[in-house]
Amino acid sequence: MRLSSLVLSFTLLAFLSCGGPAGDAPADGGKSKPLVMTTNYPLDYFAGRIGGELIDVRFPMEGHADPAFWAPDPETIESYQKADLILLNGATYEKWVDRVSLPPSKVIDTSAGFRDRYIPLEEAVTHSHGPEGQHSHGGTAFTTWLDPALAREQANAILGALKTALPAEAAALEGNFASLAQDLEALDRELQGAGGSGPMLASHPVYQYAARRYHWNLVSFHWEPDEPPSAAEWEKLRRALRKHPAKVMLWEAPPQPETEKRLKELGVTAIVFYPCATRPSEGDYLSVMRRNAERIKLSALK
C-alpha cells in the first residue's frame, strides 16, 4: 500500500488502529541467581571462578565430543534462549550460532576484544556458484583459551558482563577475577619456554594460539587419536620430517598404542596436550593446563 493511500485511509476511514504492547510480560520463573550458559568448558570454568556462588553456570553439552563441531538440539537452544547471559568463545568457534536464534542482548562474545588477533585458517575451501562470486567456508583458529593471556582477556569480558548483571556484587566479582587472573599469569609463566624452540608436530590444528604465544615451531596434521593414520598420512609425515625434523608430536588425547609405537620408530614422541574444551574427568582447566605444561617441559628435557 502506498504511503499516500495509507494517510488517506487514516483520515477518511478513521485510522489504522494499532495497540500497544498488551501481552503478558514473560515470567522470570522465580530465579534467584542469574543463569549463565556457556559454549565450552573453559568459559564455564572462568565464569564459575568469577561468579562463584553468585551465579548458576551451565555448559549443556554432554560427553567428550568437540564443542566446536557440536550443534545443540532444539531443547538446548530453548534453554540458551532462557539464560540471563550466554557466553560465546567467538573466533568462529560456535558455527551453530549463525543458524540459531539467540537474544543478542544476552550474548557475550568473549573474544571480540581481540578480534584483530584472530589467526585465519589457511585451509579454507572456497567455491563459487551464481552471480555472487567466490566465497569461502573458512574461518579462524578458535582454541583461544590455550593462550593464557587471551584466556585472561576472555575472563575479563566475562567479568564485565557479570558486573552489568550483578552491579551490587562488583567488588566480589573483581576479587574473584583477580584470583583467576593470577592463576592464568602463573600458567603463562609455566608455559613460557616449555616447548623449546625446536620443530614440533601437532596431530590436529588446534594449538595455533599457544604456538604463537610461545613461539612453537609447529606443523599440524589431521590425525585422530582413536583412528590409525592411513599409509598416505604416514608418507605425508615422513616427507614433513625431512624438512621439519620434530622430536615431539602434540596430541589432543592419547593416540592408539600402534600409532605411538610407529611414531617412536620415526623418532617422534607423542605428548598429550589436552585442549580441555570439555569438562575433564579429573581436575579442572587450570590443573589440566598445568599438567600439559609439565608434560611438554619434560619432553623438551629429553
Binding site: V7, A14, L16, C18, P21, A22, D24, P26, P74
Partner: protein, 393 residues
C-alpha cells in the same frame, strides 16, 4: 401498555417501512459523527501508545513517517536499507539496546518481520502455543495471522516472491512455524516473525547447498583449483531448512554489511536517549533517528484537521436530514387528518391525540438513539480489528 402508547405502537408497526426508513436515517445521522469520533479517539490512543512504547527508531535518511509506519505497523513502502553494522554501532555506545528490524518480505498478504528475540521481550509478546523460533528457517505467527491462515505450530509458511516475473530473484522459502503468539491487540497480531538471519536467507544472502567437496556433488562442479571449487547452475540449493541440511547453510560475506530497514533503540535512560540522538544529528550521517511519538503526533494533528472538516460536513448533513425527517412527520400529520378527526369523534381529546403523535416521534428517535449508541459501542470495542482488517488488505 396505556392507550396512547398502544395507538402509537400500532401506527408505527402498521407503517413499518416508513418507520424503518426513519429509524435508519436518524440512526446514521447520530452514529456517523459519534462513530467517527470513537474511531479517531481509539486510533489515536492505540497509535500513540504503540509509538510511545518505541522510544527511538533509527533508519536510513528519508521519510520519517515511512520509517515509523513500516517499523511499527509493518505497512507502507519499504524504507531505504541500512546495514547491520549500525546495530553493532548502537550497541557499542552502551547507550541503548538495539533491536534490528527487516520488514521487507511477505507471505501472501502478511508481512514477514525479521528481528531478534529481544523484540519479543521488548514488546512483551509471549508464545501462546508451541515454542519460540529456534533456528534458521523458523517463524512464529501473530495471533490474527495464524487464525487467518489456519496455521498452527508444526505448519508451514512460504515467503512470496517479490516479483512474479523475476525468475532469478528472491526464492520462496518454506518456513517452519514453531509457535503462535498470544493476542496483543497490536499490529504484531498480523505479522509473521522470523530471525533477521532468516530474512537474509530469503534475500539470498545465505543459502544451503550440496557439499561441493563430496563426490555426489561432482556433476555440479565446473572446476577445482586447489581449494577453490567452481559450481555450475545445477548444484542443488535448498529452499527449506531441515534437520538434515541445516549444517549446509552459510552466509556470504560479513553480516555487518547485510541489510535491515530499521533499528529500535531502547535507551537506558533519558540522558542516554539524548546522547544517542545527538550522535545522529550530523548532516553527513547516512542515518536518521526519530522519536516515533513525535512523528505520530504530527500525523495525528493533520488527521484531526481533516477530521474537523469531515465532522462539520457531517453535522450540516445531519441537520438537513433531521429537518427532512421533521418535514416527513409534519406531512404525515396532513395525510392523517381523517384519522385524527376520527380519534377526536370517538372521544379522544386534542391533548391525547397530540400525545399519540409525540409518542410516535419519541419512539422513532429513541430507537434510533439506542441503535446509534449500540453501534458506537461496537465501533469502540471492535474498531481496531475491523479497521486493521480493512486497511491491511
Amino acid at each position: 401498555m396505556n392507550g396512547v402508547a398502544y395507538l402509537a405502537w400500532r401506527y408505527l408497526t402498521h407503517h413499518k417501512y416508513k418507520t424503518a426508513i426513519l429509524v435508519l436515517a436518524i440512526t446514521l445521522i447520530l452514529y456517523v459523527p459519534a462513530g467517527l469520533r470513537a474511531l479517531v479517539r481509539l486510533s489515536e490512543r492505540q497509535l500513540t501508545s504503540r509509538a510511545a512504547a518505541t522510544p527511538l527508531l533509527i533508519g536510513a535518511k528519508g521519510s520519517p513517517l515511512e520509517l515509523v509506519l513500516n517499523s511499527l505497523y509493518a505497512r507502507a513502502e519499504v524504507p531505504a536499507p541500512l546495514t547491520y553494522a549500525a546495530v553493532d554501532e548502537v550497541t557499542a555506545t552502551g547507550l541503548a539496546r538495539a533491536i534490528p528490524l527487516y520488514v521487507r518480505f511477505h507471505a501472501q498478504q502478511d508481512p514477514i518481520v525479521g528481528t531478534t528475540l529481544d523484540y519479543f521481550e521488548f514488546r512483551g509478546l509471549r508464545v501462546a502455543a508451541g515454542r519460540q523460533m529456534a533456528r534458521l528457517g523458523d517463524c512464529v505467527l501473530g495471533a490474527s495471522a495464524a487464525r487467518r491462515r489456519g496455521t498452527a505450530p508444526g505448519g508451514w509458511v512460504i515467503s512470496s516472491p517479490e516479483n512474479a516475473f523475476d525468475l532469478a530473484g528472491v526464492y520462496p522459502l518454506k518456513m517452519r512455524v514453531t509457535g503462535v503468539l498470544a493476542y496483543s491487540d497490536s499490529p504484531d497480531d498480523d505479522a509473521i516473525f522470523t530471525d533477521v538471519k532468516t530474512t537474509w536467507l530469503i534475500e539470498g544472502l545465505a543459502h544451503g547447498h550440496q557439499d561441493l567437496t563430496k563426490p555426489e556433488a561432482a556433476p555440479g562442479v565446473l572446476k577445482r583449483e586447489g581449494g577453490a571449487i567452481t559450481a555450475n547452475a545445477s548444484v542443488t540449493q535448498y529452499n527449506e531448512v531441515t534437520d538434515e541440511n541445516i549444517r549446509s547453510f552459510h552466509f556470504h560475506g560479513d553480516a555487518a554489511t547485510f541489510p535491515i530497514t530499521a533499528i529500535i533503540a531502547a535507551p537506558r535512560d533519558t540522558k542516554s536517549a539524548t546522547l544517542l540522538m545527538g550522535r545522529y544529528q550530523a548532516a553527513d550521517r547516512p542515518q536518521q533517528i526519530v522519536q516515533p511519538l513525535e512523528v505520530i503526533r504530527e500525523l495525528m494533528s493533520a488527521v484531526f484537521a481533516v477530521q474537523s472538516f469531515v465532522l462539520t460536513a457531517l453535522i450540516v448533513t445531519g441537520v438537513a436530514t433531521l429537518a427532512t425527517a421533521g418535514l416527513v412527520f409534519l406531512l404525515s400529520l396532513r395525510l392523517r387528518r381523517r384519522e385524527i378527526a376520527t380519534l377526536v369523534k370517538i372521544g379522544g381529546s386534542r391533548a391525547r391525540v397530540a400525545a399519540v403523535v409525540v409518542s410516535e416521534v419519541a419512539a422513532v428517535v429513541g430507537a434510533s438513539a439506542m441503535l446509534a449508541a449500540a453501534l458506537t459501542w461496537i465501533t469502540g470495542s471492535f474498531g481496531s480489528e475491523i479497521i486493521r482488517n480493512l486497511v491491511a488488505r
